[in-house]
């Protein structure tokens, strides 16, 4: 009896907590389809269905362009991080060379340095390279990930070295070995690094705000931030929420499909955006 009460209470508590996590998002999405006067109501079903808020977003800011920018930058970065980090991770796990331990120690050291230290010099570097207001400023600093190298190195160590030796005896090149032999055996690591990299770069906003000033090159989070804080939305809440909904959508769709991978990737590494 006591046990039954306890479990019912657990369900009640968990259910109301879960509701407080889901409901605000549902309210946000429904608010974007409501006429402006109805937005403040907690009801989730609009009395009249309207897409005016979305139309207003498209009229006021180049959100489509921002979406394309974000996709381009995120795809380039994710691809490059997967390729370059796994190459380095392979070198650190399956090749014995002088300096390997030193490189690994340097990596661990740089992981501990807060970004506040490198932020200003990185901006200066972008200015000197002439990359401010170009895609290069968004892509270059993220081309390789120390965390990705670390994760790949750990994972690749579990792949038997004999497998790699055998491929070498068959005359295969190291790059062939990495992408045709190591990769197919490392799908979980690739998924983890891929998801975390994509999510981080998609959601990143501080760096774009610093290096991009022209509207046509802004990524989605930056564009939406500017829209919400500047006067352009004319305090129309529905319109601001519509732009936020569009920003959330791609990651939410990915989350719905790869939920388990998202949760496992982030829980094992403890990384969030």
């Amino acid at each position: 009896m006591k046990r039954k009460i306890l479990i019912t209470l657990s369900y009640l508590l968990l259910f109301s907590l879960a509701l407080s996590f889901i409901y605000p998002f549902l309210w946000m999405v429904s608010a974007t389809f409501k006429p402006e006067i109805e937005i403040q109501s907690p009801n989730l079903i609009p009395s009249a269905f309207s897409v005016d808020s979305y139309r207003a977003v498209f009229n006021k800011i180049p959100i489509g362009r921002a979406f394309i920018n974000s996709v381009f930058v995120s795809v380039c970065v994710t691809f490059s991080v997967l390729v370059l980090s796994s190459i380095v991770g392979y070198a650190l796990s399956h090749l014995k060379f002088r300096g390997r331990e030193l490189i690994f120690s340097i990596m661990l050291f740089t992981m501990m340095i807060p970004f506040q230290v490198t932020l200003i010099p990185m901006y200066v570097l972008m200015v000197k390279f002439g990359w401010v207001n170009t895609y290069m400023a968004l892509i270059f600093p993220a081309l390789i990930s120390v965390f990705g190298i670390y994760l790949f190195k750990q994972y690749f160590q579990s792949i038997p070295h004999d497998l790699i030796e055998a491929a070498r005896l068959d005359g295969y090149h190291e790059l062939f070995i990495i992408f045709r032999i190591v990769w197919p055996n490392s799908v979980p690591a690739i998924v983890t690094v891929g998801i975390l990299t994509f999510m981080n770069i998609w959601n990143d906003v501080l760096w774009p705000i610093i290096v991009i000033r022209t509207r046509n090159l802004m990524t989605m989070p930056q564009m939406v931030t500017l829209f919400a804080t500047g006067g352009q939305a004319e305090a129309q809440i529905g319109t601001i929420l519509a732009s936020a909904t569009m920003l959330a959508l791609p990651v939410v769709i990915m989350y719905l499909f790869f939920q388990r991978h998202f949760i496992e990737s982030m829980a094992t590494t403890g990384l969030k955006e």
Binding site: F21, V88, T110, I113, P114, A228, L247, V252, G270
Partner: protein, 287 residues
């Protein structure tokens, strides 16, 4: 004759070496120079010795932003750990069904951009029209000036940040709880230990490493608080939500005081390092 491993090791590691020189080594060294300089990026740098640090010590806004960030952490971390422990303990009940549904729900804000979450909560917090206040009103509670009162604004941001990150820590703690052998509890039960005593003598010590990780990660995350006050309050009212990062951003990119901003950055790094070390000393246990 260079061996195969020796040759390919360096070739394949070279992307990182190049990257390290440009992205880590140069910025760190350059920061170490900048802290002794006055520089607005237009005129040449001037060496000013320790002047940046003297300015920093006497800068009321820096101290204000540091205290604000401390207040944020002081609310955010205990609240987060308390709630995450509670939820993960509830979810760890073997006779509970629908675990993964709850887990997915708590995890949703973790994957969504901080920009979206902040824009959403800015509406929820709105004094006159926000959902939170209309809910409070319907319970007969007075309206709360969430973002317009200097005493409430930062706690309100800390509450939102907790809501955003909680799911991650629930999942991490849950994984830790599931690794505790049932037999430990059974043995303790036979010895007559109550549920609460079991929680503090078995559960907490067993998940100590994960708790430390949660504390350290949320400390580092908390010190990089930026976009939330940037969107929600712009640092106001009366600088009550000015975080250190927001302040660095303003000094560097609104006033172009590059030397001073670099000094703030290095000082923050030292403070983060000290706080994390202190936390480990205080909470890390070798059972």
């Amino acid at each position: 004759m260079i061996s195969h491993d020796e040759k390919y090791g360096w070739i394949l590691a070279s992307p990182y070496i190049v990257f390290f020189l440009i992205i880590s080594a140069f910025p760190i060294l350059f920061s170490a120079v900048l802290i002794f300089m006055r520089w607005n990026m237009l005129s040449p740098m001037t060496f000013i010795g320790m002047q940046n640090f003297i300015t920093l010590f006497q800068d009321p806004l820096f101290w204000k932003s540091l205290i604000n960030t401390g207040l944020f952490l002081g609310i955010h971390i205990p609240l987060q750990i308390g709630l995450a422990l509670l939820i993960s303990a509830l979810l760890n009940n073997p006779s509970l069904k629908g675990k993964s549904v709850f887990r997915s729900a708590f995890f949703l804000p973790v994957v969504i951009s901080g920009v979206v979450v902040t824009i959403l909560w800015k509406q929820l917090y709105s004094t006159e029209t926000g959902l939170l206040n209309s809910m409070l009103l319907s319970f007969g509670v007075q309206k709360v000036p969430w973002l317009t009162n200097t005493k409430i604004a930062m706690p309100a941001i800390a509450l939102m940040a907790t809501w955003k990150n909680l799911g991650l820590y629930v999942v991490m703690l849950l994984a830790g709880l599931q690794n505790i052998p049932r037999s430990l509890y059974e043995a303790a039960g036979i010895d007559g230990a109550g549920k609460i005593s079991q929680f503090f003598h078995i559960t907490v010590p067993m998940i100590n490493p994960i708790l430390i990780m949660v504390i350290v990660l949320s400390t580092i995350g908390g010190f990089s608080l930026f976009i939330e006050p940037y969107i929600m309050t712009g640092g106001g009212p009366l600088n009550s939500t000015l975080s250190v990062n927001l302040y660095i951003y303003q000094q560097a990119f609104s006033f172009y005081k590059m030397g001073y901003a670099a000094t703030l950055g290095i000082t923050m790094a030292a403070i983060i390092f000290a706080v994390v070390t202190l936390e480990r000393k205080l909470f890390e246990r070798n059972y």
